[in-house]
């Protein structure tokens, strides 16, 4: 085999004495896509941050074209041709698309002035090449999250980077954008660019990756060609153990109607939404970004109340004006944005678990810490939350464990209806399964779940029935045999 484009070996990195990475290893060939696999906490992000010069390694070496390199800062990595599209978008919302793409290396006029015309023209050409129908002079903040992500990708490509790191690039974008991204990846491969690709979505890896490297507990486990490893072995190697069936489903919808929604509407977000939810049911709502699915859940929870239509809960009129109303009626809402609207990131596990039920752990408005521990402790076991202590800040936890804390917060309110918006976004394979198992356990007796997801296998695997949203309206309902990928795609686009 010829000299790899990028080769890293023996990379180690500790934080405050706690090792996050003990033996990172990765060999990327030019013109290939290399899947970097591992659960949350496996050390993937740490390794990537070392490669990008965001973190400084404690041990090991990195070679580009066989020559050892050292990046004191991300700027040096960029100069050497390594770019990263990260999970956390870092755009400047008040600048235009073109300005964002060329941020920090704007075309110059007479060495000092920004050549806006040339910048716009170059940006337009790039967007055309990527088949992105975005105006180069649009303000970035006015775009959807998916479009912003595509701009990030365009930015990395425009740098003529030889190595592009894509960390969960599809977690916030829809089917169409994913296809555009993959087309762009193919073109990059043809140009000899090497791509390190991180995703929890197995389907994607099998579609575009050539090689894989598996990491677990901060250590390199194995590497090889994607063609030589099957799905089952990949997952068990990542987890280090055998797995149950991926979508565990034990719940059975009953006959009783729990919730009826009649002709719901709000502004331009959604309208004429009518549906019902049976006891014991997991109702899937599928739709692309902007189809109104999250907005509909917001309305059901009273976070942004419906303006039109009515709802009945167990036969009684239900009209939530604020989250408290819905909570008292037994509804809980796990939003899609954990960090933004689910957790207080700087606060401890304990405090986040009791966030929605503070009066439960207080007597006469005085917090009773013993009660607080008593409330939080059982959830750690029940949901298998991995944490050294209940006083650990949630921002130090992996995505999967954070999501379990959000679930614990809501379970403490003893809801009968759980609204789950993208319940497994940014959650590793192992935790995903635990969440699925929890869902099917929850949706029994007189309880039920409404779940939205943009991940088709998840929607198909977990839902008893799926309602498809398109441009703010219901475009169809699928049961039993009708639950296929083709039908979902047809009704949603």
């Amino acid at each position: 085999m010829s000299t790899p484009l990028l080769h890293a070996e023996g990379i180690a990195k500790s934080f405050s004495g706690v090792p996050a990475l003990t033996n990172g290893q990765l060999s990327l060939r030019a013109g290939t896509v290399h899947a970097l696999c591992g659960g949350n906490g496996a050390g993937k992000s740490t390794l990537l941050n070392v490669l990008m010069g965001i973190l400084q390694r404690d041990a090991g070496y990195v070679q580009i074209d066989g020559r050892e390199v050292n990046f004191p800062s991300p700027h040096d990595a960029l100069d050497t041709g390594i770019a990263m599209i990260s999970q956390e978008l870092e755009p400047v919302p008040d600048m235009t698309v073109a300005e964002n793409i060329f941020l920090g290396r704007e075309p110059r006029l007479m060495g000092a002035l920004v050549d806006h015309r040339r910048m716009r023209l170059q940006a337009e050409q790039l967007l055309r090449e990527l088949e992105l129908h975005l105006p180069a002079n649009a303000r970035l903040g006015s775009l959807s999250i998916a479009d912003m992500q595509m701009v990030e990708i365009a930015r990395a490509i425009s740098r003529d980077a030889r190595v592009i790191i894509m960390d969960e690039p599809t977690s916030a974008i829809g089917e169409r954008e994913t296809e555009l991204l993959f087309a762009a990846v193919e073109r990059l491969k043809a140009r000899g660019t090497g791509i390190i690709y991180v995703s929890h979505r197995m389907n994607e890896l099998y579609r575009i990756a050539d090689d894989y490297t598996i990491m677990r507990d901060g250590t390199f486990i194995e590497t090889g060609a994607m063609a030589d490893i099957d799905r089952h072995r990949l997952i068990t190697t990542v987890l280090g153990k055998e797995l149950d069936e991926e979508y565990a489903k034990y719940n059975r919808p009953g006959a009783d109607t729990l919730l009826e929604v009649d002709d719901y509407g709000r502004g331009k977000d959604f309208e004429r939404v009518s549906l019902d939810l049976k006891a014991g049911e997991i109702l899937g709502i599928f739709g692309l970004m902007g189809s109104g699915r999250s907005e509909f859940l917001d309305a059901l929870f009273g976070a942004a109340p419906a303006e039109r239509g009515s709802a009945r809960l167990r036969g009684a009129p239900f009209q939530p004006r604020e989250p408290g109303d819905a909570m008292r009626a037994g509804i809980a809402y796990v939003t899609e944005d954990r960090k933004g609207s689910g957790l207080v990131m700087g606060a401890s596990i304990k405090r986040n678990v009791t966030l929605a039920s503070i009066p439960d752990v207080a007597r006469n408005s005085l917090i009773h810490e013993g009660m607080e521990d008593a409330v939080a402790t059982p959830f750690v076991e029940r949901l298998q939350i991995k944490a050294s202590s209940l006083d650990m800040p949630v921002k130090q936890m992996s995505g999967g464990n954070q999501q379990k804390v959000v679930l614990a917060k809501w379970l403490q309110t003893q809801p009968s209806i759980l609204l789950l918006d993208e319940p497994t976004r940014g959650v590793d394979v192992g935790a995903k399964r635990e969440i699925y198992a929890f869902m099917s356990e929850f949706a029994r007796d007189d309880r039920a779940i409404i779940m939205t997801s943009s991940e088709i296998p998840e929607v198909l695997g977990m839902s008893d029935r799926v309602i498809v949203f398109r441009k703010g309206r219901i475009s169809g309902e699928l049961h039993g045999d009708e639950l296929t990928q083709e039908n979902l795609v047809r009704l949603s686009s």
Binding site: D58, A59, M327, G340, G342, R351, L355, A362, K395
Partner: protein
Amino acid sequence: MNQASSSATPTTSATDHRNRITGFLSDYGIIVAFIVLCVILSVVSPYFLGVNNLLNVLRQVSINGVLAIGMTFVILTRGIDLSVGSMMAFAAMVAASFAVVDSGMPLIVPLTLGLAAGLALGCVNGVMVARFAIPPFVMTLGMLSMARGLTYIYSDGMPISSLSPSFLWLGQGMVVGIPVPVILFAAVFMLAWFTLRYTTFGRYVYAVGGNPTAARLSGIKVSRITFSVYAISGLLCGLAGLMIAARTSAALPQAGVAYELDAIAAVVIGGTSLAGGKGRIVGTLFGVLIIGVINNGLDLLGVSSFYQQLVKGAIIVVAVMLDRSRLSNT
């Protein structure tokens, strides 16, 4: 995960040790800094450690202390209250106008009206920020000017003095050898500490500051909490107004100019994050004490007040720097 670590990172134990020290410093750094400061001052000035001097320091910081405690509540919710100095001056003026010797009013009248004046203005701040979503900086900047204007209107620009001895006791009296303003400050501190640590309201304040969206979606009435912290700040301005009028034997229309800066400085030195949701009232107490001890110490040493300003400013910056490094460590 831990097994492989010893070979890959031989410096683990050293970094661990260092980390434990920085961890201690960030948790108790403010107290350590305060003690170091006191030790230095007691070495260079023989008078510093005297009982009377320490009581002086406490008396001198008590007004800023009361303001800084209200400010802590506000800053914990990601807000800011720039109007404390003006609201204090207004409350002082209202109280004093009912406390002049020949007014014949019982003491309860100026006390109630002074507190009510502060509370009322605080409520205006609260309603505008919580209900009408005016950014706190803008609203309280407006109130800074409005409350000062009200003070001049109410007083015609003239000081009110000749206050009754019972009223002056609030600022100049002693109870078992401890100055009354110090007792008031201590009482407010204990109450605030208890509230933030043990009550549901305190928990709501942290939650709202930590993530207002998550708090709202968890059923917490965010606007009610936001309103409350500005009302609390106003009420404490009322109390500070009573204290300053009683201490200086007069309500002066220009009293309290720029006091908001010292209050904010104390909160920031005390480690409360301007980004909200993080901070402790004990930190504010020591922030207040540090500012007071520096002023007192430099006075004792006969250092020019120009240097006091320089030192105070530098300490604010260093405090925030330590805070930043703590954040990036975790």
